[in-house]
């Protein structure tokens, strides 16, 4: 029906079909394809790191089901008159099984794990592709008329079970794919805003704006695949929020279609005192109230100069203290991230083969300088990666300021290359999970935000909790349990955890995984962390919502839902 991303993307893993990690015949790590800086490179240390960290062996493989077994897909439950009227209205629709399966999941571990095993659960009965705002209005009207359940679908990168069809849903479930609503409608250079259809994918938006000399600066790690509407619906956060802000700071105007009609503000004033901001009912509503169709966003002229950087700290504690000081002085660069030691080593495992003896000699020299001359303990040191943006002169000035602060906490500048590799890692790490899953390793990431004074305690306790819970649940090898501080705020920080383990010998690895993740979240909450910084609640974290926002808070949200969508047309059952 449509030209769809589904054709160039994996049906049971992350990202593009042509890009994946594998161990070649010589046992060397390799990243295929041509899309990334790492593509086509040999990664000589990956195998050793992989085997040592997870206790796996390349002999023991757990390959995925190669192709989708179409006959395993349940037949669609269609409401014929609804489909007919859609056709009349000229809205593209399909009940092709592959397309339905593709839109039946996000990227939670259990979702991908099931697909790899060829298990197909409840999938949408129909996929529709509106082309513009008016199409959406029509679809929602018809859905109300025929009592059909609508589930908005943007980039499909959810990690909160938000895209899972509720098992208890008996109505026909229609996946509303916004991918065709991907046009930039206008750019307002006087006010520096852009008006965009909400289905646009992050990288396309940024590329097209760049062509006009602008950017939004909103770069979540998923920006290759996630959509503007999805960002709004989940309260997304971008890597460079220190300069550009998070989605709530970027948005000027939102248009959303709900079963009650269209909701939008009457002007584009930069700030209003008109009661509670209705945008805040929309942002974070996770598809429970309607479909975001058009968004006006702030834009900025493209920065003149960009510079990566990195700092090595003797230990994580010093690193956190440094980030705290940077936040105190409000001089954070566009991005500043602090990886713990495990992640630092992980980053090293992804170093491509060095081309010359000279480079490897330099690397050796650097290592010698840091560990021997400066006395950093290789198993304690950690690294911060930095990204500066702006005028060349200001960037250099800014850089000096940050490095001076770092020096007070024992930090040593460690070069641009390390910094850049750190950021590249965030784009390829999701691919790495698929590699792990080929060899009995399952894992996931999760995040939180926490006041500054608890960052260290929370990191230590959550990592330790993961290790203990794995041990108690019979995981044979110590898990990979690591974190990084990815965002700094005035009053706290965002912390991101990776957690993976070797599940050989476990009867029900998914269950173990889910229990451990659950316990880790409990630990986060007990240590003063939030339920989520930017991933959202979805169905995965619903059980803690009441605790997180209080009973009255939950009631407020429920009453909005009841008014806007009394028949639960937007029935993905997220959040509430």
């Amino acid at each position: 029906v449509c030209v769809c991303v589904q054709d160039i993307m994996k049906w049971n893993g992350w990202g593009y079909s042509d890009s994946r990690f594998l161990f070649n015949k010589k046992g060397q790590g390799e990243f295929t394809g041509k899309r990334y800086r790492l593509s086509g490179m040999i990664l000589p240390s990956l195998k050793d790191w992989f085997e040592a960290t997870f206790g796996t062996s390349l002999q023991h493989k757990t390959p995925a089901t190669p192709t989708l077994n179409v006959s395993a897909v349940p037949p669609p439950n269609l409401v014929e008159p609804f489909v007919e009227e859609l056709k009349v209205a000229g809205v593209a629709a399909s009940h092709d099984p592959e397309g339905r399966v593709f839109r039946s999941h996000g990227h939670c571990l259990h979702e991908i794990f099931a697909l790899r095993e060829g298990r197909i659960g409840r999938v949408p009965d129909l996929v529709v592709w509106p082309n513009c705002h008016n199409d959406v209005v029509k679809i929602v009207e018809l859905a109300c008329k025929y009592n059909v359940c609508l589930m908005p679908y943007g980039g499909g990168t959810s990690v909160s079970s938000a895209l899972e069809c509720p098992l208890e849903e008996t109505r026909s479930v229609v996946s509303l794919d916004t991918s065709q609503m991907n046009r930039i409608l206008w750019i307002d250079e006087k006010n520096l805003t852009v008006h965009v259809e909400a289905g646009i994918i992050g990288q396309d938006l940024e590329r097209q704006l760049n062509e006009s000399g602008y950017c939004t600066g909103h770069e979540p790690d998923s920006m290759e695949f996630s959509s503007l509407g999805g960002w709004v619906a989940t309260r997304a956060s971008g890597m460079k929020k220190n300069i550009y802000g998070n989605i709530e700071d970027l948005v000027v105007h939102i248009k959303m279609v709900t079963p009650r009609g269209v909701i939008e503000k009457s002007c584009q004033g930069p700030r209003m005192s008109t009661g509670p901001d209705i945008h805040h009912f929309i942002m974070g509503s996770e598809g429970t109230l309607g479909v975001v169709t058009e968004v006006t966003m702030k834009i900025r002229p493209l920065p003149e100069y960009q510079k990566y950087g990195s700092i090595v700290f003797p230990n994580f504690q010093q690193g956190v203290s440094c980030l705290r000081e940077v936040a105190r002085q409000r001089c954070a660069p566009a991005s500043i991230r602090l990886m713990d030691n495990e992640q630092f080593q992980f980053g090293h495992a992804l170093k491509p083969q060095v081309s010359s003896i000279f480079t490897s000699f330099l690397d050796g020299l650097k290592k010698f300088y840091i560990t021997k001359f400066k006395g950093f303990e290789p198993h304690h040191l950690c690294v911060a990666t930095l990204l500066f943006e702006g005028d060349r002169e200001k960037v250099l000035q800014h850089e000096k300021q940050v490095y001076d602060i770092a020096a007070k906490f024992g930090g040593l500048a460690a070069g641009e290359d390390n910094g850049q590799r750190g950021y590249m890692l965030t784009f390829v790490i999701a691919y790495l999970r698929d590699l792990g899953m080929d060899y009995y390793v399952i894992g996931e990431s999760f995040e939180t935000s926490v006041p500054w004074d608890r960052v260290l305690d929370l990191c230590r306790n959550v990592k330790e909790r993961i290790v203990r819970e794995c041990k108690e649940r019979g995981v044979q090898f110590p898990p990979f349990s690591t974190c990084r501080v990815t965002q700094t705020y005035d009053a706290g920080a965002c912390v991101y955890f990776y957690f993976a383990f070797n599940y050989r010998g476990l009867a029900d690895p998914l269950h173990v995984y889910e229990r451990v993740e659950h316990e880790a979240r409990e630990e986060i909450l007990a240590n003063g962390g939030s339920l989520s910084h930017h991933h959202g609640v979805g169905k995965l974290r619903k059980e803690w919502m009441r605790e997180a926002v209080s009973t009255v808070g939950l009631g407020m949200l429920q009453s909005v839902k009841e008014y806007v969508d009394p028949n639960n047309i937007f029935g993905n059952r997220n959040l509430l």
Partner: protein, 638 residues
């Protein structure tokens, strides 16, 4: 209590090697304990700096003094803080090798416990929680840690020790820190102390050692725990500053306690001598006596995180700065109390009893002398019961039982004497003739010592005995009724024996299964019946509690319970003075002491109330007057 393993621990005598090897080389050997939690120990001055710079202390200084000048806090910290130095550990190690080999035949230590301790120190901050029976407790512990290459603990000690010239300084350099006694409402002092303790726990470089009972038990009976230090050590966990804490109960028991006669005299009202260096030198003569063996049992580390599971919400600090001074929440208090009680119970269960403890129990029931052969027969019978109730006995299997008992008794010739086949309590010598009152006093000290050794074994029998008493006061055999009466006793004795709060059903269960073990009762679904064959056991167990019950007296109909002061008993009821329940002076503080007893108990348990009417005195005259001032007074390491 699943934390407690019932397998018989194997003990090793650490003095054996000392007797064979050189004390100098022991003191000078390489001592490099792996630092706790992988953290290198901060220097004492760095530690103090961390404390003084803490946000918590700054809050309090500002609140209490109205300015941010920290000089006063620094002075308090200087007085308090330890100054651990390996040289002094070695010096102390050398001296203690000399002393201990003279005092004790053996110092028995369970090595498996030490291995677990070693393991625990690597993982999480460790809190060493020994029971407190003698001044030498903490010396022995540090000595063992030194011998086994474990981090020397930081020890909470009472300030009088600091006052001892030289000795105080040696202790300070061996890891002791000093706590004032009457802190009262001195907020600044509390803040400095608690921040100091928490900082040590947080950094986890060395175990923190403190006596949860708060003071030396003068009666050798476990004391209900004191909560001050307990809160301080638990707080870093409750606030998420450490992942977990290991509480390690340590049970120290002596065949013969060094200061036994001192204790007895203290209980009789002779003031405790001040801790001075000169006093210590004078006490040299204790070195000339034989104190038999001592046992140190290191229990399984108890994970505070496990204890807290489902019992306490750790999110309680989410909405306030964690450094903000404030009282622990009710939830935290209840949790700390339960944890502390649990540790004391584990200490009790880990205690190794000497045969003499059992003999003492029987001697006390026959204060006017008894035949040795009968005493020996009954001790053996009691041994059977004690073992069935899970007691740990130091009863050498390779010696004839009679020899074990007589040598164990011989160690206590200052208390009992065996002449012409009869066993007598020793009376203190003095000029004849004596008044009746003086006579009581002369025998009192032997009785008290005897009672103290009995007390060491008491925890074994408490719960079954309470069930036995409860059975005797219930008309039928209904478990429910028995349980109700059991609970009454449990409330009544809440300050007498150690019960974990909220564990009534478990205590009852323990008592019942103990009785079943002995074959003394048979249990059906709803009933608990004494068996005919083992009626003696029931009677005997009830008799153990008798003196305790008698010591509580009901006055009038307002159902108030009053405590008899020791003096009342001594002066007016010599005949009734079968055994004194020495703890009583502790509670006869000015203002009197009222055990917490719900009024409704009168209705539930009339029998118990009316049993204790032996006294012929008008209640008004048993004014709770202590003999010599409050006895909760000071002691060495708290």
């Amino acid at each position: 209590m699943q934390e407690f393993s019932m397998t018989k621990p194997s003990f090793v005598d650490i003095l054996e090697e000392r007797r064979r090897g050189s004390d100098i080389s022991h003191a000078l050997r390489a001592f490099s304990p792996p630092p706790g939690c992988g953290a290198p120990p901060p220097s004492p001055s760095a530690l103090n700096k961390m404390v003084l710079e803490s946000q918590h202390l700054r809050y309090v200084v500002l609140e209490v003094r109205g300015h941010s000048e920290g000089g006063e806090a620094a002075a308090l910290l200087d007085e308090m803080s330890q100054n651990l130095q390996v040289t002094f550990i070695r010096l102390l190690g050398f001296a203690l090798s000399k002393i201990f080999t003279r005092l004790f035949r053996r110092i028995q230590v369970n090595e498996d416990g030490l291995a677990r301790l070693q393991q625990a120190t690597q993982e999480h901050p460790v809190i060493l929680m020994p029971n407190h029976r003698s001044y030498v407790d903490f010396l022995v512990l540090s000595y063992i840690m030194f011998t086994y290459d474990l981090s020397i603990p930081v020890i909470a000690a009472g300030i009088p020790l600091m006052g001892m010239s030289l000795i105080g300084e040696i202790f300070r350099r061996s890891g002791a820190f000093f706590i004032r006694r009457a802190i009262g409402s001195d907020k600044l002092y509390w803040a400095v102390l608690s921040e100091y303790v928490r900082t040590i726990v947080r950094t986890g470089f060395a175990p923190v050692e403190f006596y949860v009972e708060g003071l030396r038990s003068r009666t050798l009976k476990s004391l209900t725990p004191k909560m001050g230090m307990m809160h301080m050590v638990l707080e870093p966990f409750l606030k998420g500053e450490v992942y977990d804490l290991s509480l390690v109960p340590v049970s120290i028991s002596y065949d013969r306690v060094l200061e036994e006669s001192l204790l007895a005299h203290e209980l009789l009202g002779v003031p405790k001598p001040r801790e001075t260096t000169r006093g210590l030198l004078k006490a040299r003569r204790v070195l000339e006596q034989d104190y038999g063996s001592m046992h140190v049992y290191f229990g399984n580390p108890v994970s505070v995180r496990e204890l807290a599971k489902g019992r306490i919400g750790r999110g309680q600090y989410n909405l306030v700065p964690r450094d903000l001074p404030g009282r622990p929440s009710e939830e935290s208090q209840a949790f700390a109390s339960a944890a502390a009680h649990r540790v004391v119970r584990l200490q009790e269960r880990g205690t190794v009893l000497s045969p003499w403890s059992l003999t003492a129990l029987l001697v006390l029931q026959r204060p006017d002398g008894t035949r040795w052969d009968l005493l020996a027969r009954d001790t053996l019978w009691l041994r059977g019961i004690a073992l069935q109730l899970g007691a740990r006995l130091d009863w050498p299997a390779d010696l004839p039982d009679l020899e074990v008992m007589s040598s164990s008794m011989a160690l206590h010739r200052s208390v009992v004497r065996c002449e012409e086949g009869c066993v007598w309590l020793v009376e203190e010598a003095g000029p004849e003739p004596v008044t009746q009152e003086e006579g009581v006093f002369r025998r009192a000290s032997a009785v008290l010592m005897c009672a103290s050794y009995r007390n060491q074994a008491l925890h074994v029998f408490t719960r079954p005995a309470m069930v036995a008493v409860a059975m005797g006061t219930v008309p039928g055999h209904s478990q429910e009724d028995i349980y109700r009466h059991f609970c009454f006793l449990r409330d009544l004795f809440a300050n007498e024996f150690v019960f974990v709060p909220g564990c009534g059903p478990q205590d009852f269960e323990e008592g019942c299964s103990g009785l079943q073990q002995c074959g003394a009762v048979s249990a059906t679904d709803h009933e608990l019946k004494p068996t005919e064959e083992e009626r003696d056991t029931i009677v005997f167990l009830s008799a153990i509690l008798e003196p305790f019950i008698e010591t509580y007296q009901v006055t009038g109909d307002n159902c108030t319970l009053l405590y008899f002061s020791l003096r009342n008993c001594l002066s007016f009821f010599p005949s009734h003075f079968r055994e004194i329940f020495p703890n009583s002076t502790r509670y006869t503080l000015p203002g009197g002491y009222l055990p917490p007893t719900p009024t409704c108990c009168k209705l539930q348990c009339p029998n118990i109330y009316f049993r204790q009417s032996h006294c012929r005195i008008h209640p008004g005259s048993c004014s709770p007057t202590p003999l010599c001032g409050p006895q909760v007074a000071t002691s060495s390491p708290i």
